[in-house]
Symmetry: C2
Subunit: 339 residues, 2 copies
């Protein structure tokens, strides 16, 4: 079959790779309905994260189970499933505490930019839809697997509450999903920080009530203006740089909460500044598995349409164009068609 392999920064290829096989009794093989490129794939693509030789890419997926290992009991061939980018047993103490992305048996998914995927810990990782979804729901179900689940976690970690104010730092795909999540959680004012027209439009469609195009101190000042000088109850940090983290912390009110889901690169926090800022911080790899049943239900009942975040679709063999478009910010997020 075809699959994508990153050879070196900028050199992503679609080439013949081995089909996956059941390696452990807890595995399942899933025939993917679609897959996609993640903002986090751009870190190694841009040379900002070390590569250990050619690397199979992709960790977002949904599709039909075609084979299961002998120990798998909760999903079976023929079912449509969605899984997290992070495989988890869903039974260990960390999973039961709501943090499956810190599962004692955690495995980060890879190799999902391909038609067939081996999913470890299938019982814990996969959630089946109640029936076969209509084709037009595939992008949204695919989004649940990571980008929506991560934006949702940002809102959850930032303790978005009905009636509250949420600020979203970052207008990438995760940030836009954070807007959608804040809307679903009942935030009254949702401030999307974005300077790109197409992303601003999508943010407004997902529920943003205000757009702030300024960044840094100017952006913080605008948030303060919008909140009567107080600052936001909740801030979703969806970038991962020193500047975006500083902006997120400064935008929150004292006692407010920052959920950070942009993997920090080069971010240092001064303890005493954080102390006197008096703001709550929680971040990490999103515990998507915790949210899967609810998010699948929201999509299947057509109450949310996160699939709109995909503004480019290319066939798998054209994956290089998908990466380039995201790298150059011509595309928010690229869906890879598998047939």
């Amino acid at each position: 079959m075809l699959g994508t392999v990153l050879y070196s920064p900028g050199d992503i290829r679609c080439e013949e790779v081995a089909e996956p096989e059941i390696l452990h009794p807890t595995d399942a093989i899933v025939k993917l309905a679609a897959t996609c490129i993640c903002g986090s794939d751009l870190w190694p693509y841009r040379g900002l994260q070390p590569l250990n030789g050619p690397t199979h890419m992709g960790h977002e997926y949904c599709g039909m189970v075609v084979e299961v290992g002998s120990a798998v009991t909760t999903v079976k061939p023929g079912q449509f499933v969605v899984g997290s980018f992070c495989c988890s047993d869903n039974t260990c103490p960390h999973c039961r505490f709501g943090f499956p992305s810190s599962c004692e048996n955690r495995e980060f998914m890879s190799r999902a930019q391909a038609p067939l995927l081996r999913v470890p810990l299938a019982d814990g990782t996969l959630v089946a839809t109640p029936h076969m979804p209509d084709d037009d729901l595939i992008p949204s179900l695919l989004a649940v697997s990571d980008v929506l689940g991560t934006g949702w976690y940002a809102a959850d970690a930032a303790r978005v509450r009905p009636g509250g104010t949420a600020v979203i730092v970052g207008d990438g795909a995760v940030g836009l999903m954070g807007v959608l999540a804040a809307k679903q959680m009942g935030a009254e004012r949702i401030v999307a920080m974005s300077r790109h027209k197409s992303r601003q439009d999508l943010a407004l469609e997902f529920g943003a009530t205000h757009i702030v195009s300024e960044r840094g101190d100017d952006g913080v000042a605008r948030v303060k203006d919008l909140t009567g000088g107080i600052g936001a109850d909740s801030v979703l940090e969806c970038v991962g740089t020193q500047e975006s983290m500083a902006q997120a912390i400064a935008s929150a009110r004292p006692g407010g909460s920052i959920g950070f889901v942009g993997v920090p690169h080069g971010v240092e926090l001064d303890g005493q500044q954080l102390f006197f800022a008096q703001k709550s911080l929680l971040g990490g790899p999103a515990p998507v598995r915790r949210f899967l049943p609810d998010l699948i239900d929201l999509v299947m009942s057509r109450r949310i349409d996160p699939g709109k975040v995909f503004d480019l679709e290319v066939p798998l063999p054209d994956v290089a164009e998908g990466y380039r478009a995201m790298d150059e910010r011509r595309a928010i997020k690229t869906l890879l068609r598998l047939s």
Copy 2:
């Protein structure tokens, strides 16, 4: 009257100072029943925090109102009151959000190591006891003003829950109050990290179920042992050094919470480590005013006895011995008698 003045590191004096007067209509003058020395007073005493000339010391207080400004309506002369080390109006958005220590009109108290004290923002800052307290309750009411309120906030910020596990890093007075708070909040396992017999004993008296005398990686390993490898739900960081913060973060379980109330000195946090640790952080100057009514009630009804944290009492003129004893860790916390 007599009051304490810090002239330079190690040089604390009790000398004649001016009596306070009403400066603003919102002020009250309180005749203190007792006052004390705070662990945070040791930072400048040890030369670890810059001094701008001779500095009047003290920020913990309780006593009887003797005079109020023309705008004060909620307390009156003759009432016994307790206030926070941080004066607040109790009406601004930050106060109403539960963070009076970030009040828009915040003033940090000083000059409380003296018989008479001017309290700004008296309506917002002071809470009267329902009746004149018995003399033996004075140390506990004094503790409410800061050391208990701060330990309480550490437990609150660390989201201590009934049935949960709480680890307290730091066996100073605040840490010991954190033990008491965790007990009151229903923690089932309370691990006090302490290597000093007298402090271990007091921790056990306040409700600790386990004592861990190891520090650093060894201390973390012991906490992991005690929690089946999982880590603690809640960690109270009551020191403020790089080592103690690292120990606190490492002791918490993924998804667990760290409340940090030791003012950080030289603490740097790596964003990416914090991300993958996936633990919640909240710290800051304790919003003691939020807790005052409940804590006063707990003391007045004799359900808690935080005053036991004072293991040394000296008359105000002997304040230098009080500082020395705490600096040399001969005393946990020194109460200063005013009459």
